[in-house]
Symmetry: C2
Subunit: 417 residues, 2 copies
């Protein structure tokens, strides 16, 4: 991660953080390093959720020809003048005629090419066939029920702008425009490293970070678990092929917290220790990029690396604040949190240390936000029970009961309750 | 789809809908038929986005033992009394001692089992080792930095309620609790039938409905495209193995609109023709269920079927109003639209026929909602350009400029603009 000058490396194990970087400065470094990836062309049918790398234009006029827009009888509108329920106009039924002659009605289906001669469609509710005659019960205005050539879009007209995230229906709608391939931003390939000894069945951070990366449009291209020591972490950091490396665990101040040392050894440790609770032992830097050799520490030469704390709640916080932002920006998405926001009244009190950004899980009860207790090094049950979180900015010492606060909602169902 | 008595079948082709069912009545039928599916047990790591079928309880105390919650020195808190920056207290460093004796300090890592004898952790910022001595620069309160056994949860305590939709972080947090398998509602297996002749590269509804089904937690277990005639549609409707069948196309009033006839032949056509624009040619009914034989038309005997219009915008509207609700309810989710909602001022005028529910795409510009023109049988480009939609209830004739309206947002990025 580029920007600022990196401090000379200091081993903070068993010493603690002499000083901590502000969250805003850490975000600035991430934004400077997270340059949008290049584009790739993919089948439109598989493009839901992807980000358009270029504006998308209609390849033909749409519709490419005049068409019937509704089911009914193609007629000359003038023939229906004066028709009424008790005074029907009678037209001659001409099945499958190539053109509409005066006094005639031709059944057409929505989407069919428009027969010449006619200028309106009478829906079946207003006209009924009886033998070879059609009784018309209401008049129709000229132009009704016809989709004119290029009415939707002319060939070359921009349908969607670059940066648009394709919604579930968009690939289908684009297919209807005859578009088969689209240029989208490449999905960030994330190398996820779970540092520390393997504990059977208890690895929280592997599934957690994998799911969050997928939510933010990234692809966990490689996942290494149980990466126990400094040399093994260094090997993972130096492995080629990733657009970003996330290491979870071994980032703290204990004697076995060797991930920052490994990063300083093979690449560049730009910062370690952030004025954030929880998640303050996060580190940010660069790994070497064998595919694009250059000086480590420059965007050209390095692959952005974030070292996340191993304690699951701290890992979640550091992911949400830093890693998710990196993945979203690499993939052409917005920097902002992807969560829904609601503004509610705080039911209790939130205490935060001035100078520290505090990330606090809350539960929505009866339209109010109840802060959940954060116990040091814990908070797992609270993270499960939480409907969302509040971010207390560094200059504040918290919020008083009754304050209106913005809650970022973790899930979809929270709003329904 | 159960409820109400079905009308005797009428072929409305070339005749139009004599009368239309209210949207509210169609929704009532869907709600009556959409009974939550049974549960299945899956690995917790794969459970993001799934719906819990039963409450989830802690299997052990968490933590299962007293643990260090932070990195630092385990001490007896009383020994740190009176310590200050210029007047440090000196303790003896006891590496890896099994217990804490008075006057001693033992380095501990967050998460490690708590050594007996101590009652607090001094973080490394407040204490520094020098040779075999530890200088303590600030006092620590008893209990600091220790996570007590069962502090998070006692064995058997409910962590998450039935019906909870697992967020990206939840599988990891549950794994940290030692939970390996979870009981979730089975994903609805959807049989998707694209009726009508195959047009190369222009099938909008296949990808559109597939993506929407996935968004709503369903699984397109079978997809049949280019199902051209009545007999072929009937065969698809009678195929076993689906929890719901969606047919897109051939539901209108044209002569080749044979999907309702096929459904009436093999199962039960409960209703056809809804007071809705666009999407009014939607039909709802039941297919026979070979796995659970019974009278078609009862929930026991039938598989819910929705016939969606083939025109893509009408198909989208009918999916959002009816099919999505069916899939969500079968899968244990809420009936409500899954879209984010924003309340904004309407920049133009929306005109709607009294008695019809109108679904209207809108674009958000400068914090206002601009209605997009719906051309009969078209609106593809508008659907692409739309940020969301407005639903005009049946009793209203629309909204005047300046009205405050609720917009359901199609995508995530719309809020950021």
């Amino acid at each position: 991660v580029a920007g600022g000058g990196s401090q000379p490396f200091q081993d903070i194990r068993l010493r603690g953080f002499a000083d901590r970087v502000a969250v805003a400065e850490a975000l600035r470094r991430i934004d400077a390093a997270a340059r949008r990836l290049d584009a790739e062309e993919i089948d439109v049918g598989t493009a839901a959720g992807r980000v358009l790398a270029a504006p998308l234009a209609a390849v033909t006029d749409m519709p490419p020809e005049d068409r019937a827009a509704i089911d009914g009888f193609a007629v000359q509108a003038g023939d229906s003048l004066g028709a009424g329920d008790y005074d029907p106009v009678i037209l001659l039924l001409a099945e499958a005629a190539p053109a509409i002659a005066p006094g005639h009605a031709v059944p057409v289906a929505a989407g069919a090419a428009w027969p010449p001669g006619g200028d309106a469609v009478l829906p079946f509710e207003r006209a009924q066939a009886q033998g070879n005659r059609v009784e018309v019960f209401a008049p129709v205005a000229a132009g009704t029920g016809i989709a004119r050539r290029a009415q939707e879009a002319r060939a070359g007209a921009v349908l969607l702008d670059a940066g648009h995230i394709l919604r579930p229906q968009d690939p289908g709608l684009l297919a209807a425009f005859g578009i088969e391939r689209v240029a989208v931003v490449r999905r960030p390939r994330v190398h996820l490293v779970i540092a520390g000894a393997k504990e059977a069945g208890h690895d929280a951070n592997g599934p957690m970070v994998s799911n969050l990366v997928a939510r933010d449009g990234g692809l966990v291209a490689a996942l290494a678990s149980g990466v126990a020591d400094r040399a093994a972490i260094a090997r993972e950091l130096a492995a080629p092929g990733a657009d970003a490396v996330l290491v979870a665990g071994r980032s703290g101040t204990g004697s076995d917290d060797v991930a920052p040392l490994a990063l300083a050894e093979v690449g560049d440790l730009a910062l370690h220790g952030i004025a954030l609770r929880p998640g303050g032992s996060t580190a940010i830097g660069n790994a070497p990029n064998p595919a694009r050799p250059g000086r480590a520490g420059t965007p050209e030469g390095g692959v952005p690396v974030i070292l996340l704390p191993g304690e699951p709640l701290a890992c979640l916080v550091a992911y949400e604040l830093f890693a998710g932002r990196l993945i979203r920006l690499l993939g052409g998405r917005g920097a902002a949190f992807p969560h829904r926001i609601c503004e509610v009244e705080l039911a209790g009190k939130i205490v935060s240390a001035i100078g520290f950004v505090e990330f606090r899980p809350v539960r929505l009860v009866g339209g109010h936000a109840e802060p959940l207790a954060t116990s040091e090094g814990g908070g797992l049950a609270d993270a499960l029970r939480a409907d969302g979180f509040v971010v207390v900015p560094a200059p504040l010492e918290g919020y008083a009961p009754g304050a209106r606060i913005r809650v970022h909602l973790f899930g979809e169902e929270a709003e329904i309750r």
